[in-house]
């Protein structure tokens, strides 16, 4: 119950009261069960109140909770017989991207996603989940291999964005992202993308051109990280909360804009409180969409994906009115 976010303070406080009462009850051999039940009831009510009205900024903080499950956690929970593959065959093996082949309910699929580190050392190796060009090219290699063998593709999106570094630029960061967008549009197999944490910028989208795009309830997806937007727009990165609200980055917002097809529910308080149950919900959703897509021809899948992205955008067009 530690590691609570500021807006979860009242919950921690309530929990402390309950724990204290329990301890006193045991120590002094007094029956507080009625009291405790009443407090637990109040705790549940408070929980409902807090988690059913989360702001964009609060969801952003939940999406960034350090113990939030990562791509590898979902892969291990959801799939069987995962074989991890490595490298882009051009330059190196970017550990900010993980992927390979696995079975989903007995069906062979390709799975690929951004991978954050679990601790500092891991994060340094994985560039905090921010890929270099070789990471995007590795992902593309996996996806084109899936395309060749007719395997459906499942991607997990979880990155603050592409890695902003000099060597990344020298090796063609822009080209690598652009190529993924173009080539993903041509894939002749079902592509299902799940935003599990942060979906930041082109680095997220480079794994995001799917027939179906799903988002976990407390994940975010935006054109730039709210911190980046705040520092560019208001020259003040500390206004990230404000930017998070203004940019409309939550799953609910994106469902309304028609960008995503479904919100996958999380346990109250976030995926990190029950990774197994969250993974089950993700698996159920992926499987349902996969079943829907599996009846489509390769041409229909390409066309379906094209239509989805072709229709995005809000503008005024007087000549059509």
């Amino acid at each position: 119950m530690d590691n609570k976010l500021p807006f979860e303070g009242p919950l921690s406080e309530q929990r402390r009261k309950i724990d204290h009462l329990k301890k006193v009850g045991v120590e002094q051999n007094i029956d507080f069960s009625e009291e405790i039940a009443r407090l637990e009831e109040a705790y549940k009510k408070l929980e409902d109140e807090i988690y059913s009205n989360l702001s964009g900024a609060q969801i952003m903080h939940l999406a960034r909770v350090h113990s939030r499950p990562t791509t590898l956690d979902y892969i291990n929970e959801i799939f069987e017989d995962f074989i991890e593959l490595h490298g882009d065959r051009l330059y190196g093996d970017d550990l900010a991207i993980v992927g390979g082949i696995a079975k989903l309910n007995g069906v062979a699929v390709t799975v690929v996603g951004h991978q954050r580190g679990k601790d500092t050392k891991d994060n340094i190796q994985r560039f905090f989940g921010s890929p270099h060009p070789e990471g995007f090219r590795k992902a593309l290699r996996f996806m084109q291999q899936a395309n060749k063998f007719g395997r459906p593709i499942i991607t997990f999106i979880d990155t603050k964005g592409a890695y902003p570094g000099d060597s990344a630029e020298a090796r063609g960061q822009s080209e690598a992202i652009a190529r993924n967008l173009k080539e993903m549009a041509l894939l002749r197999v079902p592509v299902i993308c799940v935003v599990i944490g942060e979906g930041g910028s082109g680095g997220a989208l480079a794994l995001g051109v799917g027939n179906r795009v799903l988002m976990l309830e407390n994940s975010i997806y935006s054109v730039i990280s709210p911190n980046g937007a705040a520092s560019i727009l208001w020259k003040d990165a500390s206004k990230a909360d404000q930017a998070a609200e203004a940019m409309k980055i939550t799953a609910k917002d994106l469902l309304e804009f028609g960008i995503i097809e479904e919100i996958v529910p999380e346990p109250k308080g976030g995926a990190h409180l029950d990774p197994v149950r969250t993974a089950e919900a993700v698996k159920t959703a992926i499987w349902r969409h996969l079943e829907e897509l599996s009846g489509m021809t390769p041409e229909a899948l390409v066309e379906d994906r094209y239509r989805k992205f072709r229709s995005v955008g809000k503008f005024a067009a007087p000549e059509l009115v």
Binding site: A168, S174, F257, F309
Partner: protein, 295 residues
């Protein structure tokens, strides 16, 4: 001779471009307004008329000043003749982003444009082409729904008419005020190009100063041929962000067209005075023009 394969169009003439240099390049006070121009790079002072005749390239250091879309069209297309499409598409404020509406109005007033890209048809060296030209003076050339839609429609027009597609890019990146809708324009334009190029369509992409972020990481990097103007800054992340990440000062030539050429990211750096002739030569290499229709 293959020119005859393409039907002739009616053209609208582009209104003559204002003689005043862009605000950022306005000469210092001691120089009579409009008469002289000071190069922002080397400080050389030149008669404005001379400088404009020189296509806004500094005669001393070769610095290529930024052009707006109309100037670029005037100097690239035959006789400056251009048939604009989708001229009336304008941005809305779908996120109700604080200050966006007001900023759009202000950008329209200051640039004289309706959004950051102008698209249409014209001819280069007698070869009909679909052209899109971005303009940095509108909202830093940022890509929102309108830019994405206009570029996509230009691609679709080129596909439908089997014409070559030519895009001059300049952009600070995605338009944050449209957040996710802006991001998705990268996928939309790239998917449209995927279709067009699969059908044999020819796409020439020209990077001009600067082209960064979402535009660089989508359609602009997908040219069958990629050209750039000398000195143009082209990249994904901005220099300041990278310097903060790596905690090092980057060399002056970082992300220049020449840097990108050296790193294999583009085909050729073309001086502005040679651009039209080079494009003509390149287009003529593709008899049949654009998307192959089996002829």
């Amino acid at each position: 001779m293959f020119k005859d394969l393409f039907q002739k169009k009616k053209y609208a003439t582009v209104p003559s471009v204002s003689q005043a240099p862009a605000a950022s390049e306005r000469p210092k006070r001691e120089i009579p307004e409009g008469l002289m121009n000071r190069c922002p790079k080397c400080g050389n002072i030149q008669f404005s008329k001379e400088w404009e005749k020189n296509l806004k390239v500094c005669s001393t250091c070769g610095h290529h000043s930024r052009l707006n879309a109309l100037e670029r069209i005037a100097m690239t297309l035959d006789d400056g003749r251009f048939f604009e499409i989708d001229a009336d598409l304008t941005s809305e404020d779908p996120l109700e982003f604080p200050g966006y509406k007001a900023k759009l109005e202000q950008q329209k007033a200051s640039s004289g444009l309706k959004d950051a890209v102008v698209t249409g048809e014209g001819e280069i060296g007698g070869v009909p082409v679909v052209v899109g030209v971005m303009s940095f003076d509108f909202f830093s050339g940022s890509m929102g729904s309108v830019v994405g839609e206009k570029v996509t429609r230009a691609i679709e027009l080129a596909a439908a008419k089997k014409l070559p597609l030519l895009l001059f890019s300049t952009s600070g990146g995605a338009r944050m005020q449209e957040s996710i809708l802006s991001l998705m324009q990268m996928a939309k334009t790239s998917a449209a190009l995927a279709k067009f190029q699969e059908e044999g369509g020819l796409f020439i992409s020209v990077f001009t100063d600067p082209t960064l972020g979402g535009v660089s990481a989508s359609f602009a990097s997908l040219g069958d041929y990629i050209l750039a103007e000398p000195g143009a800054i082209v990249g994904f992340a901005g220099r300041i962000v990278i310097e903060q990440t790596i905690r090092q000062k980057l060399p002056d030539n970082f992300q220049t067209a020449e840097f990108n050429l050296k790193h294999g990211q583009l085909d050729k750096v073309v001086h502005r005075k040679d651009m039209k002739a080079f494009l003509t030569k390149l287009l003529e290499m593709h008899v049949g023009g654009g998307a192959s229709d089996g002829q």
